[in-house]
Symmetry: D2
Subunit: 338 residues, 4 copies
């Protein structure tokens, strides 16, 4: 940490700051510039972070030096192995994976129909929500365990591994019975009880960025999962909340190269929620691949006008199939496959 | 709902839209302006909201007319009774309540010492966290049940009712044993499983606004609690996330009169997190009372330089005592008491 | 400045960084923590700021230590005299000033009527726009010089000094002929050519915060005016742009105590634009005074249903008169007058 | 426009609203839903927009139906011809253009050196600032007319047409003498005096999106230029301001397909400012092409460690040359050229 002292800091305050640092069990180094005093605080990161340096009189601000997400950062570590969802490897550096399916599981017929279509088009993982985090309590909340059963049937029918959302710590054992990958949604990105719980699962976890989570917050939430022992974490950029109102969210593709550089975790992009307007999802999917995403997740529905959620942003299967061809061309253009 | 058709909408598309509306069991009214076609959709709100109108070809946008939070809005209802935390009534329209205490429960000595000081200064409810939602997994996570026990001891020692945070659905029975009011924190504002669970509690719930939750989102989250049967809900404005970096958050006092007008739920303001800089918390507390808050929640610590969390934003007890006198003067100036 | 080196920085890169600092004519001090190297850069602030430290290989980030707004900050200076608009002193620390009037000058009758009403209610400065910055080119753009003449007539009729907006460097001589204070609007907060031009005026300048300007940006824009020699600068908080859609802007009252602490310039708050909904402007005006504003600017119109701009956020004169009484009570409660 | 009445609106208020609409010279159509009254307002858009409908008692909100940017939208118009910068056509739908050069013109040697390198690599338009909008008044403000002269020399030396920023209405005649395309920067996106002035120029104008401008605001600013008669307008997405701090801005690539759909103006993307970190500019440039940009503008400097502005985000020429090859591959993959 670096302490920047207030402009009018007194010598007595500096002495008090240095005494506190010593009392905390840390070392210090003072640097006097032409108009400000700066104090470096040296010691084990874990210890430094827990001390209320900013609470000491005379301190103007405290600048962290170390990234607080050690496991996610792997600053000194080797590249980790890719994350496996069923048999599908994500984050190999070479092949871009497609995750697709409806927003919600609505019925066996619906899911198997869509799963077959997206598989044929090129998707390698099936998504579908059995527990739906809806802004309103009066909206469709998902089919629950019945939805999980249907997901398993769709896997049996198509061979696609499945990813589905978990919203409550009490549901882990149940969801683990059916899923190949757990999804923690944007609204639960800082539901730390849930993060710890999925951190103890044997299944991989895809963690979606919160609406207003910084990249640092996102990596710290990944750290919660990693620090419980589960090293199979995928990070998903899905759009952030800004002042723009023409789109549902603002897809932050900047996050893709940043996440790849700051962390070694595979990066998924969800252009469906990231723009939220059906017509423009193909362009943003192409951009996601060009930006370096390891996987792209796209919602597809065979009958959007009767979808129980997110019909306005679901691609029809034939549009999806056409898009896959274009995604593959862009992947090839940057030296990858799909 | 109002459907605004695309500029180039065809007659066939209009016919299809109208047919869908009828198929959905709703009625429609078409309005042709000089350059656009607008279609009103009429029927029960619950039904309208569930239909994917935006997914129909030719639809440019869908404008909701009704507020989706019926219980929180109480548009046609009488003013509800105030919410009681222990014996303390919040939302009487007359008296402004002060909620105070440390960020975290650290020890029995710490809590009872602070509780006694804030009570003497004028606080009527004691706050303190036993379960702490920390951005980093390596930060102090709270004392858990031991912290709850200490809170109960502080209540016994001072007579102040206690409010404390709940983070996990599995903890409800335990926290209910000790608390007078449950707090749902900003990071869990859309943890819908938790909202439903506290919606079944006999205790009042203070729901804090999420970092990037709109006022509408906030009221919909309140609606989750209300619709489970728990009508004792307090709403807390605690700062939103913006581009400004000199403050921890941007305290959105606009939300106070808006919430009072759109809903009848009592409104609490948390200036401590809302600005996050100790020196400026008094001014924002005064502004919160002037804006019409029903209660103000302020963090106090007798030894901020050794606080285990948020030391940099805790007021010292003597500063708090002085502030209470000024808060009372402002409350009186707007015709209220404190 | 403080340079934080990349985690994997090499000794050769450190040497290169130190050599560059020396070549730039600056001194350095190296601090080696347990896992990172930090380099303090010492020398005259003006020189340090101009050097592309972040462009040097091995640098992860550069943390500024000094505030870049010397004149606005007056860190070592005495409190400056208040700013005079005509005879009205703003920033005395004691009296809170009221600035009021219509959004746009529409006619002589309209302006004199409103000016008389707001004066009687307690306003001490008259506002009114002759040049209007409208988002759409098809909206009413103001009466131009004719509007300026009407403003001067209203001043003659009521004795109130006038503040009006300037939008173009070419208009300075003209506006100076009529106005007592120049307003630079939010949309021009970083129109640096205009800032320099009004920096050469003999009139005081009220600088409004841009929609998405940080407090630091705002003070740097004030610095443009101050550094041209005009020391009579007022800063105006008028709401920032956030994700919230129920209000026109988010009034950032946090900025009031921050600006008062970081700078010695008088602070005006504009609750009219800050919330943009007529019904809630009184509460936000009260909060602005409680937060410590030196002046409050409120739009008033005697016939909002025929206003040529911003009718939906203009207070009717009788509402304004009632509000002034309540503002005075709050000012008194915090030890000030109005 | 559509008026949504307040929930508790009275019949007398409805009558008053309808009377006002008639008085304004407009027609109305009332629609009564199960719980709300909605009133359609019919008439010429220009007339409707100017009326303060939201100021009428009983009105809860007013929803615009028509886009206010007629010329920019070209809803009923044919696709316009591409915009020519010198001989380079932008917006042909086929070829993606590269605009490149340093942030600031620093010297003849610097500019001609960089211009030659970027031309050789594939850039077709040269950028360089002679007037620099700097946040601080103490930062390098550009070489002014001397910079313009150097730009013209670089054009003579390389054949590349030049684009350069204009910041002051008074500079138009001067800048027109040298430039092939005028740039209006983000900070001046709502400097309406400047927009009108460049709207009267014979040169094309590239309008950059403001830090917190919505897409609608941006198109309305384009409308200012178009409505003055200048139909050669390019729109540039360059990143918006959000809460994220790891990147300088958040590049909003969502804006690319939206702008292409809502308007027919060519769309330029500036990944350099959009992410602001040298290391990640290539990925965002690739994404911009994949998203459908008509041109990409990238800053290049041959000696970033001595650049007078933005050294930390300038690509070195050899990195740029390598990037061009990858951009071409992505352009080809989506059926375009570069």
């Amino acid at each position: 940490m670096i302490i920047i002292a207030q402009p009018a800091v007194t010598d007595a305050q500096i002495d008090h700051i240095l005494a506190r640092i010593e009392e905390y069990g840390l070392r210090s180094q003072v640097m006097r510039g032409e108009s400000r005093v700066v104090i470096g605080v040296i010691g084990p990161d874990e210890l430094i972070r827990e001390k209320p340096l900013a609470a000491i009189p005379g301190v103007e601000s405290v600048v962290p030096v170390m990234k607080p997400y050690k496991l996610a950062a792997q600053e000194n570590g080797a590249t980790p192995p890719p994350v496996a969802i069923g048999e599908v490897l994500i984050g190999t550096g070479q092949r871009v994976a497609l995750i697709s399916g409806p927003c919600s599981v609505e019925s066996k017929e619906q899911l198997i129909s869509i799963a077959s279509l997206v598989k044929k088009a090129g998707a390698r993982v099936l998504r579908g929500g059995a527990y739906k985090p809806r802004t309103s309590p009066y909206s469709f909340q998902g089919l629950g365990e019945n939805g999980l059963r249907i997901l398993a049937e769709a896997r049996a029918a198509t061979g696609l591994p499945i990813i589905t959302e978990i919203m409550d710590t009490r549901d882990l054992a149940l969801v683990e019975k059916y899923a190949d990958c757990l999804q923690v949604g944007s609204r639960n990105m800082q539901n730390f009880a849930l993060l710890k719980e999925v951190g103890r699962s044997h299944l991989p976890v895809m963690l979606k960025r919160g609406f207003s989570a910084t990249i640092s917050d996102l990596l710290l939430s990944a750290e919660y999962i990693l620090s419980e022992g589960n090293r199979n974490v995928l990070i998903c950029e899905r759009g952030i909340r800004t002042f723009e109102t023409m789109t549902r969210n603002t897809l932050d593709l900047n996050a893709v190269p940043i996440l790849k550089a700051k962390s070694k975790l595979p990066v998924v992009v969800d252009p469906t929620h990231g723009i939220g307007v059906r017509e423009f999802i193909p362009q943003m999917s192409l951009a996601a691949v060009a930006a370096g995403a390891d996987a792209v997740m796209i919602e597809v529905h065979h009958d959007p006008e009767h979808a129980r959620s997110d019909g306005e942003q679901a691609l029809r299967p034939e549009v999806f199939a056409d898009l896959v061809r274009r995604l593959r061309a862009v992947a090839n253009a940057i030296g990858r496959e799909l």
